[in-house]
């Protein structure tokens, strides 16, 4: 039992590893910020494309969404990081991770936005257009606010997934939180830094997960 505590819950080693993990956490947060921001914008544009009556917009958008939802993000990441250099595109690990996860994530966000937009009754947009609002104005002021509210739990769930997804970036040696913890583990021959990293993920994600549950209960009540 003592061995177990010593190997996984060693407070001294956790304290030593903390500065390194903190640096990793900052990279993780930066990565999340960029991937989520780009994913939301890309997802919205893709959803609008997929819902467009114009075929030349609709089919490429639907194809993109289907393709990148089906491909495992790890495969995408390895391909972008290790494959593209052969095509003359040498990318830093950070940029490679951003590109790979953007492709994956915007496809997921697109599905959520699409469901949200479709959940808004058609009469809402008709009423807005009938009062002289343009299509973009109708979208911005009438349809999207309702769409986002209807799928807020799904948007947040997807955000949680992104935070966890960023730990995959360790395979391309990007020194985010998990990679840093792993480094600390290999230096100390002790797994406590990994547990510490897990606690950090938990501290970030637990409030989000609670929030989602509350929204879902709220939606169920109304």
């Amino acid at each position: 039992m003592n061995d177990f505590i010593d190997l996984f819950f060693n407070l001294d080693i956790m304290a030593q590893a903390w500065p390194l993990l903190l640096k990793g956490l900052i990279v993780t947060l930066q990565l999340c910020g960029v991937v989520i921001g780009l994913g939301l914008v890309g997802g919205l544009l893709l959803a609008l494309g997929a819902l467009s009556p114009r075929r030349w917009l609709k089919w490429p958008a639907v194809g993109f969404i289907d393709l990148f939802r089906a491909l495992p993000p790890l495969v995408l990441l390895v391909f972008v990081f290790s494959g593209l250099p052969f095509a003359g595109l040498d990318l830093s690990p950070f940029v490679a991770v951003v590109i790979a996860f953007f492709l994956n994530n915007s496809a997921y966000f697109a599905e959520v936005f699409r469901a949200g937009i479709q959940s808004v009754p058609k009469g809402q947009a008709e009423a807005a257009r009938a009062t002289g609002l343009s299509q973009p104005q109708t979208l911005a002021h009438v349809v999207l606010p309702q769409a986002v509210r209807n799928v807020l739990p799904d948007l947040l769930s997807n955000t949680v997934e992104v935070v966890k997804l960023t730990s995959l970036a360790s395979v391309v040696s990007l020194s985010e939180l998990l990679y840093s913890a792993n480094m600390a583990r290999s230096v100390t021959y002790n797994s406590s830094p990994l547990i510490l990293a897990a606690l950090v993920y938990l501290a970030i994600l637990w409030p989000l997960v609670r929030l989602i549950s509350r929204y879902q209960r709220g939606l169920a009540v109304h």
């Binding site: 009754p121 009469g123 809402q124 008709e126 009423a127 807005a128 257009r129 009938a130 009062t131 002289g132 609002l133 343009s134 104005q137 002021h141 009438v142 606010p145 309702q146 509210r149």
Partner: protein, 262 residues
């Protein structure tokens, strides 16, 4: 700008139509819903459209502001071609055509006041202060100024429909289209909406109304149009349409309505 429209009978006789529908046709795929509809509404006139469901009444109304795209024919508003407008010109044209829907379609995420202000600010480009003043004025008009800060979900159906009317009126439209405005309401709430419509008529608003409220048509309409199977079968003053229907189709429609009604 044209001069203010006087609701006096002489103005009605001499003025050109405010809304003019010429040979309007509409098909969905191979199904023809409207066939060569001719209908005009003079300034200050209230024209009532009746007919069995599926007769094309609502489609005709929705063609007037191009929520449905007409397949053929033209629509003129105060001499301007509605059917020729595209893009922003169409958005501008729609500002002059108020529309009230069966399902109200208030924006549920915005307060009553914000519902009435939105298009004033975004489409008509009024300042927020002006839009607010106008919104309060219109809400007073429909008797709901005290609900300005409420959310639509806190209102009864009748109140929601009156807010929807205020939302349309705030844009100073030249004509108001009503698409079965009371069909979704509980019977005890119908009266409050009809009262607002009657008041509008007295103020000289030009109105085209699709509705099943025969009693209201008898009382308030200048003219009643009977549609069936996508064509105008008969039209005339209410006393003629209800008192002395000519076509067998109108006769059978009225006898069905009367049996179903009282």
């Amino acid at each position: 700008m044209t001069a203010a429209i006087s609701p006096t009978p002489s103005a009605k006789v001499h003025a050109r139509p405010m809304l003019e529908i010429n040979k309007l046709g509409k098909s969905f795929g191979t199904t023809e819903v409207l066939t060569s509809i001719d209908l005009s509404v003079r300034p200050g006139e209230l024209v009532f459209v009746i007919g069995p469901s599926g007769s094309g009444k609502s489609t005709m109304l929705r063609c007037c502001n191009r929520l449905e795209e007409p397949s053929s024919g033209t629509i003129l508003l105060d001499g301007e071609h509605v059917t020729a407008c595209q893009g922003r010109a169409l958005d501008k044209m729609r500002l002059k055509i108020g529309m009230v829907f069966q399902g109200f379609h208030l924006y549920p995420h915005k307060s009553v006041l914000a519902n009435v202000m939105l298009a004033q600010v975004k489409a008509l480009k009024r300042s927020k202060a002006d839009a607010k003043t106008r919104a309060i004025e219109m809400l007073e008009h429909v008797g709901l100024a005290h609900k300005a800060e409420s959310m639509p979900s806190e209102l009864s159906g009748g109140q929601q429909q009156r807010v929807a009317i205020a939302r349309a009126l705030a844009l100073d439209p030249k004509v108001m289209l009503f698409d079965e405005p009371t069909s979704a309401l509980d019977p005890e709430l119908v009266g409050s909406v009809l009262k607002v419509m009657k008041q509008l008529r007295e103020e000289g608003m030009t109105m085209l109304v699709v509705s099943h409220e025969m009693e209201f048509a008898r009382e308030a309409a200048d003219r009643v149009v009977f549609m069936d199977g996508g064509v105008v079968v008969e039209s005339g003053p209410p006393e003629e349409i209800f008192g002395n229907p000519q076509s067998p189709r109108l006769q059978s429609f009225l006898s069905r309505v009367n049996r179903g009604g009282e």
